[in-house]
Symmetry: C2
Subunit: 900 residues, 2 copies
């Protein structure tokens, strides 16, 4: 028969999957000789068995529990249910992954109308015994039968009023005794059955209640949020009771081995004299700082300090310890790795390394991504006295304050004159890009986590609150309002992109912290990892930021963002409206110096590092106003006098015709990417010319350039073959024209994004024409799933994740089974054909930990992400190496690439 | 050294790839002892060598040609260039695949100012010799230097006028001699060099000209249209001349061994006395029917008949033979399988089987898809006296005549009252479906080969002319017009969907022919093939048609088409506008009996055969009017008085809100397919209820039903798992409610379309919940390539096919490398997990020959196509079996499926 019950001395810390975290730690502490009240653990396998058997205790469990209980009785010299000297126990849940506050606890189990007398006579304290009994009825009723604690509290308050007791301590034994009768009546009424006097029935019901609580709504939500598998189950810990409420030489407390807020290396905690654990939590009395104990109970403090040190050394991490002192004797009830703030986490990890307690690898492994997210963005200094106007979606983390403006031009102008502004729009479009650039933060009333504003803001590392529907944003009237409040242009507001709050006035902010500890840990991560980290950066400023954050290159420089600046957009539109290749070329010639200038700036910022430039990708209609907008403008002009507006009318009419001509049913799958480059070769020719000229100019000033020209949306090898030939022709022409044969030649490479499923499937053929592959996992996810991200995320996809049809949103966490399979297939078949091929990823997944692990596992050379996620990616890449080891041939292959 | 030159006696018919079709046949005829003028063939390898060497004759070729020429001189007892008894030769191209009229021929090569005298003295005919010489100059100048024939013809005409000759025969030797001088001057002027007197130079230039002609524009276009690989190359045939123009006992002719129009088994052909081959082609004199020869030259006719029989028996197919009689002696110049009409092709194939000359397999293999296309559609009886108004795209083959109407309602009503109508619209939408159903044919002025009208018409087997931009269709004014002609509602028009012509008036039509021969061949095909052929059919009438054409089941019944009938559409719209599941259920309850009735009709038509019903697939907004339409209607109603229009206004406003809410950026990748079924479970529940109830009712009347319920657009196994559970629950409930436990149970299966790349990639997991897979290759192609069909086909895709970036339009011919790879991967991984899984294809590729071959090759169980393409698919499936053999385990696995 399977062993389902383990005495504490039979287990150890490694048995967490079977014993749960708490049970494994109690076993480990017992093994280490610490003073732990004896007990046993019912395994998670028993929990599985309970659900499999249709909510019934699995065969053999009761027998094993009896045997363990008998051993407990032997160790304590007490009998469970014995009216003279009863064994009392606690029952607690203990899941594999820590789920604080999610599961319930019952203390004092084993009390009934008879054993209460036994406890009273043994302790010589009727008041204490009745108090324990009434606590059991309350907790048991609440946990096992769902009776509201409130019902019991009301009775307690009433009794205290009647007896004139102001605090629990003032209640007499008789008071508690009377209350017990009232509790029993309440119990009978709510549960429909009397409180069980049979202590074994108490135990059975309590164990079942712990099992059932695995599926209570709070627990389910917590698991969903924290991605804990539903089938993990919980263990149950049965432990003999010790009492901190037995007098003034008793007490209970919580202790952290280091400060969980700051990370400082000193004991940190609180204790209460003459109290049980729940009194600390309930906040009825104010606990004392642990430091007080040093003078009040010096011997105990010394013992506690030693135990704390022993536990930290044993677990090699800061511990969160629960202890009880019963009549001057110290008992350890629990220890676990302590929760900590972001700042503390880094400091503790770094100091443990310096103290020689853990390795750099361990320090790096312990860093949580959410901590980095906090540290790397500005936040509100104080959450207290804020006038919150409304809350929207927390679309891009960090906080910012500024003067409210309602259009992109104003945002851009005011920011140039040195003012800090917040841009508020019903929604943003690519034409607002200069406004987003100028603003400190962005607020929209429409659009989700992946709306234009959200995506761009995240890319820029700026706070953004999206889809804040409670606020009506009225740009024409230069104000925004809720039913209660109106804010006008020029007034101060603060956005908290981490929580989604819109705050009136200028709130105080704390700066993002690139602490010494963080720098040290990033440094260690860099020493460990083999996966490179590149940045997605579209302009010199982003490139500079990326480099500061540690980017080893640019993995994606989108050239279209350069087209949206107002003075350029007009030229881009001329290019689109051109009726012949010649006209188009004329417009493109005007764009060329502008693009070239951008490239020069980026090359300078990335001196010595590779810069991957993607040629134009979006469909051309994105550069024109909408059909509706043009229609309305045309209608206006129609009514106005013909003279002055004749030329504008003509232009608007021409644009409208073009917009209609370019209209596509599914623009995602339409004429974009290399399809544009093939149909209008002049566009890519101009871009290549700009890249090569910029390279030549930078090189002439001593900058080392490594341009990598990336062709988007290739689906067939012939597309890349044809475009590669064009690139090489144009580049050769430009280099020849420059005519400096004595100079070092420009070394550029040509590669492609793999973002169409067919490209992944035919990677071998495509690799023949490519120096590198960059997996564009945003589009690859869209096409592999057949999801339009714009349409899916706010509609059925949310429903899918809610209903657990999908484990995650595949745009946030790379779908290993489907999209990942394509990536793996492509990498393997392409490498077999061309071992020197460089591979990376440049979708948003490049900044997600799980996805980075996947990229490392399939052997990519780099991930590329937004500059502000680079520290995160550096840590994750190191964690991947630590967790997965060096894949076969990985280091060797990377060496080949380095020398290539 | 590679052998590049082959004497006719060194080759045979199997060496077609090396010798070209003509060369291989000349060799085969020589081997068979037929009277072929001796000669040799320069191989296609020499042609490749020529292009590889940069348009230079490859090494060794001239040496090998000299040797072959020496052998020719020996056989003929003449010397090439000998002034006394010159050897004269013809030079002709001969590609591997027959390319009639594409390549050029030079006769009489070897003539010059000296050899002309030798020919004259040997034949004792100066007139003949000069005539031969002037022909050489003309042909050589034309073929080698591109001198327009017209230039020479002008000189000939002038000379005839001057000498008073009315026909070529009237021209004297002196006349020809004078013309030769003029020809030489013309040659010098146009070519910039004199006509070469060196006969070896003539030969070399001629051979090069043949090679070069492989890349002339006509040849390139022909290859593209007929999908002949560009790198196949052409051979060159050098043959000693024989002369049909040596007097009245000479002549030349063309002979078919059977009638190429009707297929009747008698000699068919024409001949000209005293003429050379090109005279027949030039049409200067009218040739005589071959029958005349029987009395005019009985001995020769007898010999010719025997040779014809011998050749047909040898090649086991109807032959197209060229012959020449020189001074009473018969020479065979060429034989090849004769081109024939559709009707003749079937008759000849069937009769050859009956005559025991070929097997049924061979007969089936020879059927061309284009022939079936012709036979299976109505056509115009006569192409003569037609008043063509304009021509558009030939979007759906066949011809139809009817009264012109301009809206779907009118088309539907008039057809119900027994009138034949043609529906003309600027374009059609799903709401016009009842009009398309009623009309004989459809004309649109906008939209391409894959517009709504085109796709629906092809599915219904109705003629359709699309994108006829020359005609302005004005539904409001109930007329259509070109600049010249106006046609009004009620007038007769005829559409020819095979050519795209719009004809005024009622043209006479010939019916589609399901001839006895076709039936016999289809019967043979059914005996051979193992791949099943199902039909795509959405209503009882289509199901009936499908069964008549030999469908073995329905592979795709789209339930949404049932929603578009006007009386149903209103209810569907109520369903969509419902604000709660209850309201939605109420509307669905009204739809249920309608769907059920349709299913009953289909089950009856398919008694005993499987019917695969796809649950609702399109996005809901397809059932609502467009935003523009609603906006305009709202504006109209706004101006009208509020009283009468209040309710309509409310409804329109409600629809407009819903349309905006449902708007999607990329509807192809949005909330459709099973995503609808998951978010609105009531819809699928209703459909399943209708299917099961219809099954029960049909079964009660003795019909055998095999419903196969198909869930569309699955991308993750969980989707199918969840929906399969719902299907089973609803079905069980309906069956229980029917409460006839003694009756035979309903056997239904549940499967899915594989049309999302991820579904193919995770086929193994999905197969766990599926009884069958049906590959929806339309959508699978869209997503695998990232092409929106609506946007691609008229834009970049046409450019891609033109530029040969893609070998075919992947929506017409299945892309084996990409989409096919996914299908193969899915079939293999799913079958490994579930060997009993039934697999098929239901995209438009199911009716394309190459795609059917692919489906057979990867081991699918069936293809499903439009009813009107079923005969074609039956033949193609048999051809696949013949060409590829039985795949391992294929028959065995099919047996398993049959018993399942």
């Amino acid at each position: 028969m399977e062993k389902l019950v383990f005495l504490f001395r039979e287990g150890n810390a490694k048995m967490k999957n079977i014993l749960g975290g708490k049970g494994a730690n109690l076993a480990e502490m017992t093994l280490a000789g610490l003073p732990v009240p004896p007990g046993f653990t019912i395994s998670t396998a028993a929990c599985h068995g309970y659900f499999e058997a249709g909510d019934r205790l699995p065969a053999g469990l009761e027998q094993q529990m009896s045997e363990a209980l008998a051993e407990l009785e032997r160790m304590k010299g007490q009998l469970f249910g014995d009216p003279r000297n009863p064994l009392l126990i606690s029952v607690r849940s203990g899941s594999v992954t820590s789920m604080p506050g999610m599961m319930d606890t019952i203390l004092n189990l084993g009390m009934n109308d008879e054993t209460v007398a036994g406890l009273a006579s043994r302790t010589d304290d009727w008041r204490f015994a009745y108090d324990c009994y009434r606590r059991l009825i309350q907790m048991f009723g609440n946990v096992v039968f769902g009776i509201e604690s409130h019902d019991f509290e009301l009775l307690l308050r009433k009794m205290k009023q009647e007896t004139g007791a102001s605090q629990d301590q003032d209640v007499s034994a008789e008071g508690w005794q009377r209350l017990i009768e009232q509790y029993k009546q309440c119990y009978m009424k709510r549960a429909g059955r009397p409180f069980p006097q049979d202590v074994h029935e108490q135990l059975r019901l309590a164990v079942e209640a712990v099992f059932k609580s695995w599926n209570n709504p709070r627990a389910k939500v917590y698991r969903k949020v924290n991605r804990i598998p539903d089938n993990q189950g919980t263990a149950v810990n049965i432990q003999s009771m010790v009492y901190g409420n037995k007098g003034d030489d008793s007490g209970t407390g919580v202790l952290f081995t280091r400060n969980p807020s700051t990370g400082e290396n000193h004991l940190f905690g609180e204790y209460l004299v003459n109290a049980q654990g729940e009194d600390v939590v309930a906040g009825v009395r104010t606990p004392l700082p642990i430091e007080v104990m040093r003078t009040a109970m010096p011997a105990l403090f010394e013992q506690l300090s030693q135990v704390a040190k022993q536990l930290e050394d044993h677990y090699r991490d800061m511990q969160d310890i629960e202890f009880t002192v019963e009549a001057g004797r110290l008992y350890m009830l629990q220890t676990r790795n302590g929760k900590r703030t972001a700042q503390a986490a880094l400091r503790i990890a770094a100091e443990l390394v310096r103290e020689g307690k853990i390795t750099k690898e361990e320090a790096v492994s312990r860093i949580e991504m959410s901590h980095l997210d906090q540290l790397l963005h500005r936040g509100l200094q104080d959450n207290g006295d804020l006038q919150v106007m409304a809350a929207g979606l927390p679309a891009s983390p960090g906080a910012a304050a500024g003067i409210l403006v309602f259009d992109a031009d104003a945002a851009s102008e005011m920011s140039r004159s040195g003012k800090r502004v917040i841009l508020a729009r019903p929604e943003t479009t690519p034409e607002d890009i200069h406004g987003l650039l100028g603003a400190e933060g962005v607020l929209t009333s429409r659009g989700g986590m992946t709306s234009h504003a959200a995506v761009v803001a995240r890319g820029m590392g700026k706070p953004c609150v999206c889809g804040c529907e409670a606020i009506r944003i009225l740009p024409e009237e230069k104000r925004m309002e809720t039913d209660q409040i109106t804010v006008r242009e020029g007034e101060w507001v603060t956005l908290d992109g981490t929580t989604g709050r819109v705050i009136i006035g200028e709130a105080a902010l704390r700066e993002a912290e690139m602490t010494e500890e963080l720098k040290a840990i990033l440094q260690w991560a860099d020493e460990i990892r083999t996966l490179k980290v590149y940045a997605n950066a579209d302009n010199p400023a982003d490139a500079q930021a990326a480099r500061q954050y540690g980017a080893q290159g640019i993995g994606l420089c989108r050239t279209e963002h350069m087209f949206f600046a107002p003075e350029r957009l007009t030229v881009v539109q001329q290019m689109i409206l051109a009726s012949s290749p010649e006209e188009r070329k004329a417009a493109l010639e005007k764009l060329l110096p502008m693009q070239q200038e951008d490239f020069e700036g980026i090359f300078r910022a990335m001196d010595g590092l590779p810069v991957t430039i993607r040629l134009l990708d979006p469909p051309l209609h994105e550069f024109l106003p909408s059909e509706q907008e043009l229609g309305e403008r045309l209608a206006e002009l129609g009514e106005a006098s013909q003279d002055g507006t004749g030329r504008e009318r003509q232009l608007v009419a021409q644009m409208l015709r073009k917009v209609r001509e370019l209209h596509e049913v599914n623009p995602m799958l339409g004429q974009r990417g290399c399809r544009l480059g093939i149909v209008y070769p002049e566009i890519y020719d101009m871009q290549v010319e700009a890249i090569v000229q910029a390279s030549l100019r930078c090189q002439a000033t001593g900058i080392t350039v490594h341009p990598e020209i990336m062709i988007p949306l290739v689906g067939h090898a012939n597309e890349l073959k044809m475009l590669r030939e064009s690139v090489e022709q144009v580049a050769a022409k430009v280099i020849e024209r420059a005519g400096q044969p004595d100079r070092a030649p420009i070394h550029y490479t040509v590669g492609t994004m793999i973002e169409v499923p067919r490209a992944a499937l035919t990677a071998k053929q495509i690799a023949a024409h490519a120096d590198f592959f960059s997996f564009g996992t945003n589009d690859l996810t869209q096409m592999t799933f057949g999801y339009s991200r714009d349409d899916a995320e706010n509609k059925f996809l949310a429903h899918y994740v809610d209903q657990k049809l999908l484990p995650h949103n595949p745009f946030q966490v790379l779908d290993a089974d489907g999209v990942g399979q394509l990536i793996e297939l492509a990498v393997n078949s392409a490498r077999a054909a061309k071992p020197s091929l460089k591979t990376g990823i440049c979708g948003e997944h490049g900044g997600d930990k799980e996805s980075i692990f996947f990229c490392y596992q399939v052997g990519l050379d780099y991930v590329s992400c937004s500059p502000y996620r680079i520290p995160l990616a550096r840590i994750a890449a190191a964690q991947a190496y630590i967790a997965l080891g060096a894949p076969d041939g990985q280091r060797e292959r990377l060496e080949i690439n380095r020398t290539a």
